[in-house]
Amino acid sequence: MAGVAGGNDFQWCFSQVKGAIDEDVAEADIISTVEFNYSGDLLATGDKGGRVVIFQHEQESKNRPHLRGEYNVYSTFQSHEPEFDYLKSLEIEEKINKIRWLPQQNAAHFLLSTNDKTIKLWKISERDKRAEGYNLKDEEGRLREPYRITSLRVPVLMPMDLMVEASPRRIFANAHTYHINSISVNSDHETYLSADDLRINLWHLEITDRSFNIVDIKPANMEELTEVITAAECHPHQCNVFVYSSSKGTIRLCDMRAAALCDRHSKFFEEPEDPSSRSFFSEIISSISDVKFSHSGRYMMTRDYLSVKVWDLNMENRPVETYQVHEYLRSKLCSLYENDCIFDKFECCWNGSDSAIMTGSYNNFFRMFDRNTRRDITLEASRESSKPRATLKPRKVSTGGKRKKDEISVDSLDFNKKILHTAWHPKDNVIAVAATNNLYIFQDKIN
C-alpha cells in the first residue's frame, strides 16, 4: 500500500511519540499548537497549561545511517500564566494559541507565543561555558572581602554542561480586546501581525508599548455583528501583503501600502455557494478555521469544516483545488452541531515543496493530499501503530451500508480524538501530529 506525499510514492512510518500514555488526560497537557522552525531543527509545541516544549533534532548516529535522527526535549518553559480580568470578572486562559518562530539571526533562537490576550517574544539560548576565576567573587559567587584581594587575574571560560535558557525578551500586552487567534511574522523580520476576532494589529518586534491597528471589523453596534476574523497570515515574500479569513468563508487580501487602515481589501476570495447543499449549517461549515500561504507565495490554502481549498492568489472567484477531508460527516451535521464538534478549528499545512498538504480529522485520523497525483491518504496517530519504524497503514471510513474489513464506520468514530494541529518539516518528509496530549512524529521510510 503506497503512501502519498511529496510527489513520490513512498510510505510514512512511525518515528516517535511524546507525552503520557494515560487514558486520563490532564486538561493542561492538551497540545494546542505545533510549529517547526525555519530549518526544521527545532519543533515547538504549546499546551493548554501555558507551557512551551521545544524539541531538537539530534544528528543521525553514524552507527545507524538508515535512521533519521530523533527529536528530543531541548527546552521547556512556562510561557503564559492564567490571569484574571477583574473588570469583566473573567478568566484569561493561559492556553498557547499559536507559536511562530523568528528566522534565526544569531546563535540564539527566538519565538513568539501567544495566548488569548498577550504575545511574548522568547529567546532560547544555549550556555555551555562558564566564566571562572572572578576577582571580586569566589567560586560560590559570594563577594570576597576587598582586603583579601592581593592580585588580579583574568577570568577564564570553562566548559560546562549544556544549559538551555528561555527568557522573555518582549511582552506585547493590552492590545487586544478579543481573543487572539493568529500571529504571523512578516518577511521583513522586523514586524509581525496579531489578529483577534475583530481586529488585526501590526507590531514592531522591538516596540511593546504600541501597535498599529490595520484591520477593524467591529461594527458600531455589536448587535449587528455577524462576521468575525478567524485567521490571518503575512505573505511569505511580500512584506506589504497579508490575508485574513472570516467566519463566513471569505478571505480578504490586503495591501498595507494602500492605506494605513486596511478595512478595504485588495482582493476578496469567496466561492459561490452551492444552492443544492444549502442548509441551516451552511454558514457554520463554511467558516474558515485556518489560512496558510504556500512557501512559494503563489497560492494559499484554507480549511473549513469539511474541506481544504487551494486558492491561486490571482483568482478570486473560486479555489483552484478542493479536497474533501471528511465528507461523510455532512449528513451528521446536526449531531455535530449539538455536541459542538462543528465548531472545531482544524489547521492545515503545506509540505516544503508545496506539492502536498495535510490536515487533521476525527478519530485521530489525519489526511494528506498530493496536489500533483491527486491522490490522498488517511492515516491514524495511535499507540497501536507506534512501533519503531512501523509503516503506517492507510485507514478508510466506510460511508455506504457495507463495511469492508479494516474499514471503520462513521458511527464508530471517536469525536473526542481530534487532530487539530499538524506541522510539516520545511525541508524533509517529517511530520508532527498533535493528538490531544501526545505528539506523534512520522517520517518517510528511508530504504
Binding site: 484569561i92 455589536m222 442548509s279 441551516f280 455536541n339 465548531f343
Partner: protein, 306 residues
C-alpha cells in the same frame, strides 16, 4: 446523552432542515401538512438547541465570540424563515397569551422584541442580538411561578446541572415532564431547584416506563425541553406543530458543553453510535434506561461535587 428523537429526524435519514426549497423527504401532497409540521418541529428543535447554546456559553472564561456569532446567525436564519412562514407570529402570540409577564423568558423577550420591531418596520427582523458580547455575560435568573395548572412550572432544564437551572429561560415541564402526573408536578414546584433535581431523579426512575407515553400538550410549553415522542393526537394542531418535543436527555447538551470546557469524559462518540442503532420508530425503553442511568450517574457526580 443525545436527544434521540432529534437525531433521528435530523441526521439519520439525512432529513436536515433545509433553508428553502426542500420540502422534506416525502413527495405526497396529501401528507404535505404532516411534512411541513415535521420540518417545523425540526426547525424548532434547532432553534431551541441554538438558544440553549447561546445561554450556556457564558461560563467562567469569556465565551468564544466566533461560536456565538455563528450560533446567533443560525438563530436569525431560522427566525427569518419562520417569519416568512408566518409561524413566528403565531408562536410569539401564543407565548404572550400563555405566560404572565413575570414568567417572560429572556430569550423570548429578545426574539419577540425583534419581531415587534420588524412588524412595525415592515422589514425582516433585525439581527438576533448576541447579548453580552462585549461584557461578560451572566445568565439571568427567571423567577418561575409555582403555577400548578400551567406546565410552566419548573425552571430547571434538566435534572443535572445547577448551572443550567440558573439559565432558566426554559420553563416547562421538568425533565421528562409531560407525562408526569399532576400531583408530582405540584410537589416539585414548591421546592427549590436543587431539590427539584434530586427529586426528579427518583421520579424519573419511577416514571421511567411512562416517559415514552405520549401526552397531551398545551400551549404553555414553550421553549422547553421536551421529548420527541410519537406525535400524539394534539388538542391544538396549530400550537402542536409549533412546540416541538425534545428528548429530556437534552440536559446532556449541558454535560457535553461543560465537558467541552473541562476534560471530556463522555465523548459525543456515543451520540453518533446510537444514530445507526435507532429505527425511525419508537424509542426502545432499554436504550432510554441506559441513558437514564448515565444521567443518574452524572447527576450524582454534580451533586456530590466530585
Amino acid at each position: 446523552m443525545f436527544p434521540k428523537g432529534t437525531k433521528r429526524k435530523f441526521s439519520d435519514s439525512g432529513e436536515e432542515p433545509v433553508c428553502s426549497g426542500d420540502q422534506g423527504p416525502s413527495a405526497s401532497p396529501a401528507a404535505a401538512r404532516t411534512l411541513s409540521s415535521s420540518y417545523s418541529l425540526q426547525r424548532q428543535s434547532l432553534l431551541d438547541m441554538s438558544l440553549i447554546k447561546l445561554q450556556l456559553c457564558h461560563m467562567l472564561v469569556e465565551p468564544n465570540l466566533c461560536r456565538s456569532v455563528l450560533i446567533a446567525n443560525t438563530v436569525r436564519q431560522i427566525q427569518e424563515e419562520m417569519t416568512q412562514d408566518g409561524t413566528w407570529q403565531i408562536m410569539t402570540q401564543a407565548l404572550a397569551a400563555a405566560q404572565c409577564p413575570a414568567d417572560r423568558l429572556v430569550a423570548t423577550e429578545v426574539l419577540c422584541r425583534q419581531t415587534d420591531a420588524a412588524a412595525q418596520a415592515g422589514q425582516s427582523p433585525k439581527p438576533f442580538p448576541v447579548s453580552g458580547l462585549e461584557e461578560g455575560y451572566h445568565s439571568e435568573e427567571v423567577v418561575m411561578d409555582g403555577d400548578v395548572e400551567a406546565e410552566v412550572t419548573m425552571s430547571s432544564l434538566s435534572p443535572v446541572s445547577p448551572q443550567l437551572s440558573s439559565a432558566s429561560y426554559l420553563p416547562g415541564p421538568f425533565g421528562m415532564a409531560p407525562c408526569w402526573e399532576e400531583e408530582e408536578e405540584d410537589g416539585d414546584c414548591e421546592e427549590d431547584e436543587e431539590e427539584d433535581s434530586e427529586e426528579s431523579v427518583s421520579e424519573e426512575e419511577e416514571s421511567e416506563p411512562d416517559h415514552l407515553r405520549a401526552d397531551s400538550r398545551t400551549g404553555e410549553q414553550v421553549f422547553g425541553t421536551f421529548e420527541i415522542k410519537h406525535p400524539a393526537p394534539p388538542p391544538d394542531p396549530a400550537l402542536e406543530e409549533l412546540f416541538s418535543d425534545v428528548d429530556p436527555s437534552y440536559y446532556d447538551l449541558d454535560t457535553v458543553l461543560t465537558g467541552m470546557q473541562s476534560t471530556p469524559k463522555m465523548g459525543p462518540y456515543d451520540l453518533l453510535e446510537s444514530l445507526s442503532s435507532h429505527a425511525p420508530t419508537a424509542l426502545s425503553s432499554s436504550s432510554s434506561c441506559r441513558s437514564d442511568l448515565n444521567e443518574l450517574d452524572h447527576i450524582m457526580e454534580i451533586i456530590v461535587g466530585s
